[in-house]
Amino acid sequence: MAKEIFMPKLSSTMEVGTLLQWLKEEGEPVDIGEPLFEIMTDKINIEVEAYDRGILLKKYFQADDQVPVNQVIGYIGERGEAVPEEPPILSEGATEPSGQKTEPSAISEDAVEGKSNENGKVRATPAARRLAKEAQADLQSILGSGPKGRIHLKDVQQYLETEKEQPKASPLARKMAERENIDWKTLQGSGAGGKVMSRDVIHAVPAQASGQKQEQHEVRKKLSGLRKVVADRMVQSAFTAPHVTLTSDVDMTKAIEMRIALLPTVETQTGFRLTYTDILIKAVGTALSRFPEVNVHLEHDEIIYKKNVNVGVAVAVQDGLIVPVIKQVEQKGLAAICAEAKDLSKRAREQKLRPDELEGSTFTISNLGMYPIDAFTPIINQPEIAILGVGRTQEKPVVVNGEIAIRPIMTVSLSFDHRVIDGAPAAEFLAEVKRILENPYEMIL
């Protein structure tokens, strides 16, 4: 029996997933644990592995289709097994799968009669099977002349006869050629008897693509995948939350001293170098535990006070940005935070994060300090209500005790959702962050 492939539910809040791409073609063999397709939730891109071994028989959805969780999106089974033409309809009033919805029952049953298979089996005599096997012909594509469409030896012989006259291509190659808009008949086949195989089509693709480039068209790229998620979420946040951004200069002298003092210790303990981002995470975490009114989510009309301080850190990845979360920052020391942050950001760039590692943040830090950026107005990562943008640290002349001194100054920007908190408490919170960074021993408290 063919096994269903489902749109997985990767988190408790996930309702739909976007199919980014299939990593296998119909007709390709699939092994257990092999990446089968890539999806995107509202938080993550993830490759989904196959749970079954067999042939990918059917793909019901294409890239960029939004598919409800638990919807059957394809089938894996044995070669030649019959699967429905239309994906099974999700029960419990779940949304209809995209695409045209035809009457599946009557039509497909007739087709089954004609296609000589039933229960996923091809009806063929042993002799027909033997010849088909010897000639590597796919019984599925042979029309049976016997009762109930049974394929007889004669049918296979006729099929092979007509096949001989036509240029040959494997089913997979045909499919790929169709998708790439290549006429496979023009390709030089590398298979037995000049049969065009999938590899021939793959070789042909770059050749044709470079041909297109010479025509110098504008490059057009559909907003898709993670880019689309980021886009949607930014629009959602920017146009629903009234953003107010406060900025403040932070004297980083003591923070730098502390970092230099702790570097060897942390490196011995974790093998990683303590960064300013780690210090920022801890400083913000400490401030948040003192300002529970900032450590909240806004969901619909409710403000939810979060028990733990979970700090998300925006990480730039290929064609987008994701926010891995360091959980329970209030309970963790700098070394633990350092190790965790390095691990998360590394895996974020490799797109290997688990969905739960991207969930549950109560506040986000966006650090552009590695660029010559002084300050910016970050957009809140909803349903959080505030975000801290971090600019570069630069030595600047400042007045200290009536004298001009050179101090390392970093500008931080706090964007907050004015629906939830007002300017004064937000300013107090930012002042607290500033105070902790300027007196980093506060973090020990």
């Binding site: 005599t125 042993p126 002799a127 027909a128 099977r129 033997r130 002349s145 016997g146 009762p147 049974r150 007889h152 030896l153 004669k154």
Partner: protein
């Protein structure tokens, strides 16, 4: 070559052997002056005397028991059971004694006996005198089962059966007794377990036994007119069975119809069909294996119904056509 009947061929095989070998003798009901129920032994008592052509009481159990005992003690008895239906009465002697003793004595004893017995319907002899029970015998290890379909085969197979040191059940079809064919005058032996190709063809194999060989040949003639080239394999002996010839034929034609007169249900055709399905011929089958056999009813007395109860030429033609329909 001269032509003689099947009946004469059986008699000739026995007479020639009895002239040569003093240990061979006959026993059965009314086989003496009367010449047996079908006249097979007619004239033999005159040549060989009542010591070697022995009339017995009407007791198949006693005949079979006496034969087993004399065979064990060095004779080579040929017993005649008037109708193969009454083999049921001789069953204990055949199944529990004749078939077993050579094995149970570790080969120190042997049971060289032949049970000749007329079988089959078509003579208006009704339910108790018309059956084909060869599958019963074929099921018993230790018994050989022979079903000759021609006079030539009958003579050669009977010689082989007499020469065999094991009990052999030799089924003679009543309707075949009058049938003639070319038979050499000198003794000859046809090895048990060697099938005979009664007709060569390329489209479909018919495996037929006894009377059905002739019906199949008749059907083949009709089918030839429609361009269907039938091959007919006559196993001649059910035990041992020449599987190789059957399998090779089916590999060649890719289609097979198995025909016997015995009731299809539990009949030996099921065994043949299974052997084909299990063999390498399977990969060459291009149509389902078809079996034709008697209906699961007692053979009726009414001549029309009697015919309807067992496969006839039109039935075979129909079965073959169904099988080759998708040629």
């Amino acid at each position: 070559m001269r032509e003689i009947t099947y009946l004469e061929a059986v008699r000739e095989a026995m007479s020639q052997e009895m002239r040569k070998n003093q240990d061979v003798y006959l026993l059965g009901e009314d086989i003496g002056v009367y010449g047996g129920a079908f006249g097979v032994t007619r004239g033999m008592i005159e040549e060989f005397g009542p010591e070697r052509v022995r009339n017995t009481p009407i007791s198949e159990a006693a005949i079979a028991g006496a034969a087993v005992g004399s065979a064990l003690t060095g004779m080579r008895p040929i017993l005649e059971l008037q109708f193969s239906d009454f083999i049921t009465i001789a069953m204990d002697q055949l199944v529990n004694q004749a078939a077993k003793l050579r094995y149970m004595y570790g080969g120190k004893g042997k049971v060289p006996m032949v049970v000749r017995t007329p079988a089959g319907s078509g003579t208006g002899a009704a339910a108790q005198h018309s059956q084909s029970l060869e599958a019963w015998m074929a099921h018993i290890p230790g018994l050989k089962v022979v079903q000759p379909s021609t006079a030539y085969d009958a003579k050669g197979l009977l010689k082989a059966a007499i020469d065999d040191d094991n009990p052999v059940i030799f089924y003679e079809h009543k309707l075949l007794y009058k049938m003639k064919s070319h038979v050499p005058e000198e003794p000859y032996s046809i090895p048990l377990g060697k099938a005979d190709m009664k007709r060569e063809g390329k489209d479909v194999t018919i495996v037929a036994t006894a009377m059905m060989v002739h019906k199949a040949l008749e059907a083949a003639k009709e089918l030839e007119k429609e361009g269907i080239d039938v091959e007919i394999v006559d196993p001649r002996t059910l035990v041992p069975l020449d599987e190789e010839t059957i399998v090779e034929s089916v590999k060649k034609t890719g289609r097979v119809v198995v025909v016997h007169e015995a009731v299809k249900r539990g009949g030996y055709g099921g065994e043949i069909a299974s052997i084909i399905a299990e063999s390498e011929a399977f990969d060459y089958l291009d149509a389902p294996i078809k079996r034709l056999g008697g209906l699961p009813v007692p053979i009726p007395y009414n001549p029309n119904l009697e015919k309807a109860a067992v496969p006839q030429v039109p039935d075979i033609i129909k079965a073959v056509k169904e099988t080759v329909q998708f040629k």
